[in-house]
Point group: C2
Chain length 380, copies 2
């Protein structure tokens, strides 16, 4: 199979939209030029609607993890007690970053596949008044879990703590009302719902969080939020930005506004519901507890079959790339990404191909039943 | 003028080579896939020839400054004494990053436009035996100065200190023999001689430097070199890489090898010499002391004319972008970048256009004399 025939159904990177690809092909410009500055500022202004915030949006050249570390490095001082809500690999990463910065990390762990109950956050905050900030993941891609950021935010606000949300794998695909839900720092990345290649992280900060950041003496330079804030006043970035990715970001946000954020959220929910209906019809066991099913990725339990064998057939016969399990879930689950530049049509083809692969590994079900279930969801 | 007609003659970002642009347009793949892993490892293996080292090359998604901070954050512990050789904005940046990490920073400053004399480094190291590491810039783009890394390296090695070199604006355009010259950490960026958009930094580390890095307890996560080293063993990166820029890097290194590094160095020297001959013929004052003239950028002093007016005409009439001065040189110099995807032909057109612009601002010289001087250099 030619390298070109690759259909990414993983929770990032997601396929790059052709319009975005063309935008990124524009000739390089000087990053200190007036043209670039104008485009950058218009784009960052536009990004406020993505975050549903009135705060400034800052952009850093780096992966989503650079954005997560930016939140920690600027907010946390050594010895600070922080509460990290861990529902999988990325919650765990937040905890590791906080520990690397000398925080006293309290973890609220749940069984992987489950989400966080806001009541449990209330208990944890009651038990330890020293907690300064709460870190949460909106869509935990390793387990297919979506956490209730609005509900958790209410509790965190009640206790007057800072609230940091990893929305890398969700913003643009799922509702997140930064200001209304009381999120103090929100981080996202380019290679998910924004339909761009990896390489950019976006971050927004509340006024309350700025106070803690300005008082923080941690060593930091490239990831120093104060430098990004200061540069915004000069309509620029402190360090050379990834110019072609910024071209792409401008196009991505324009596309999302044309589609409409509400419609994007609805399309992601529809794709999720199609996939889940198919998984159920095919008698495959879900990995993720239904209440917490993420709109961007669906995790399926192996058990009766080898998930790695299914992934291999999908890749070799159809060019469809599914994600495997991470850490202790390696070889135990597969994950179907339904995020970004993707529509219900791709769900139908993915499910149809999945049925073929499942037959080949000996899983028993009625051929076509998964596709039919997804079609029924689509027909409403 | 259409936005498409833009001719970058700045010391980065430089024009992206069309072949690289096409390579970057390849469809997205999963960054944990076998295909990507294979390409990444082949590319990093190839990059050893760029650095002239047998050490592993690591790649981080971020600007050149992220690479510089990686060197500091991993090497320097609070209270360490370091010597920073400052010849302009980027030497100054190294000093600022080191200070942010709590280093006791000794600066060896020279007048901007001058380079560092290795004897002065010898004196500084003799005067303060506490110095742990020396930080230098190979090509200081703010002043058009190239420092003698080989000569400085000899001195640093004699004293048994660690030697860190910012080769962001030079590697691939200028000789740098990392292992032979005793460079312990070498950093470069994508948007200069590599002909890529900004967004990647490459870094290589000597065995001596690894010892200091492994013993260093500084908080760090995204820029933690140990994580990059560990991931290399698994043929991957610790955090999501900027996939399309990695495609481009693979193509860039292939191009540089086809051209031949020696030929690339010679072409950059030729372009420099053409520009300098023209500047001299046009009776423009050089900003940079001749001994230290960088192969990648030439700085011209204003004085008899307004450099900003010249830049404006070049941009508006020809779409040619020259760089201005930075910090206290703002409005006092202009800089001509001759780096990356550029040939002697572009030097001739740039000089011809520059003559037109200079006439318009009232500078007196014989029209065509700059072009003729450059042609003579080209003819040899």
């Amino acid at each position: 199979m030619s390298f070109e025939h690759i259909h990414l159904r993983i929770p990032g990177p997601t396929p790059v939209a052709p319009r975005i690809q063309r935008a990124m092909n524009r000739p390089m410009v000087g990053h200190r030029s007036g043209e670039f500055s104008k485009m950058l500022m218009e784009t960052l202004e536009r990004a406020k609607r993505l975050f549903q915030t009135e705060q400034d949006i800052m952009v850093v050249s780096g992966s989503g993890t650079a954005g997560l570390e930016m939140a920690v490095a600027n907010l946390v001082t050594p010895g600070d007690t922080v509460l990290v809500l861990v529902t999988g690999v990325f919650g765990d990463r937040f905890a590791k970053i906080a520990a690397a910065y000398g925080a006293n990390v309290k973890r609220l762990d749940v069984e992987w596949g489950m989400g966080i109950d806001p009541d449990a956050v209330q208990e944890a905050l009651t038990a330890d008044p020293a907690i300064k900030a709460v870190f949460a993941t909106q869509s935990e891609t390793s387990t297919g879990v979506a956490n209730d950021i609005e509900g958790i935010g209410k509790v965190v606000r009640e206790f007057g703590k800072l609230f940091v949300v990893d929305a890398v794998s969700s913003l643009g695909a799922m509702e997140l009302k930064m200001d209304e839900w009381g999120v103090d720092i929100c981080v996202t990345g380019s290679q998910k719902a924004l339909m761009l290649p990896p390489g950019l992280a976006l971050i927004a900060v509340s006024e309350l969080a700025w106070k803690a950041i300005d008082a923080n003496q941690n060593p930091r330079f490239y990831l120093d939020l104060r430098a990004y804030k200061k540069s915004l006043k000069d309509q620029t970035t402190p360090y050379t930005p990834a110019v072609s990715l910024i071209y792409g970001l401008a196009e991505s946000l324009a596309m999302l506004e044309e589609v409409g954020y509400e419609n994007s959220f609805r399309r992601h929910l529809l794709m999720r519901d199609m996939v889940r209906a198919a998984v159920k019809a095919l008698r495959l066991p879900f990995f993720t507890e239904e209440t917490y099913a993420s709109p961007t990725v669906t995790a399926v339990n192996g058990g009766g079959f080898d998930p790695e064998a299914v992934r291999k057939i999908m890749r070799q016969e159809f060019g469809i790339v599914l994600a495997g399990g991470q850490q202790h879930l390696k070889g135990k689950i597969f994950r179907i990404g339904h995020m970004g530049y993707m529509t219900p049509l791709e769900m139908l083809s993915t499910i149809a191909a999945l049925e073929v692969a499942l037959k080949k590994v000996g899983w028993e079900f009625e051929l076509g039943s998964g596709v039919r279930a997804a079609q029924e969801v689509l027909l409403g």
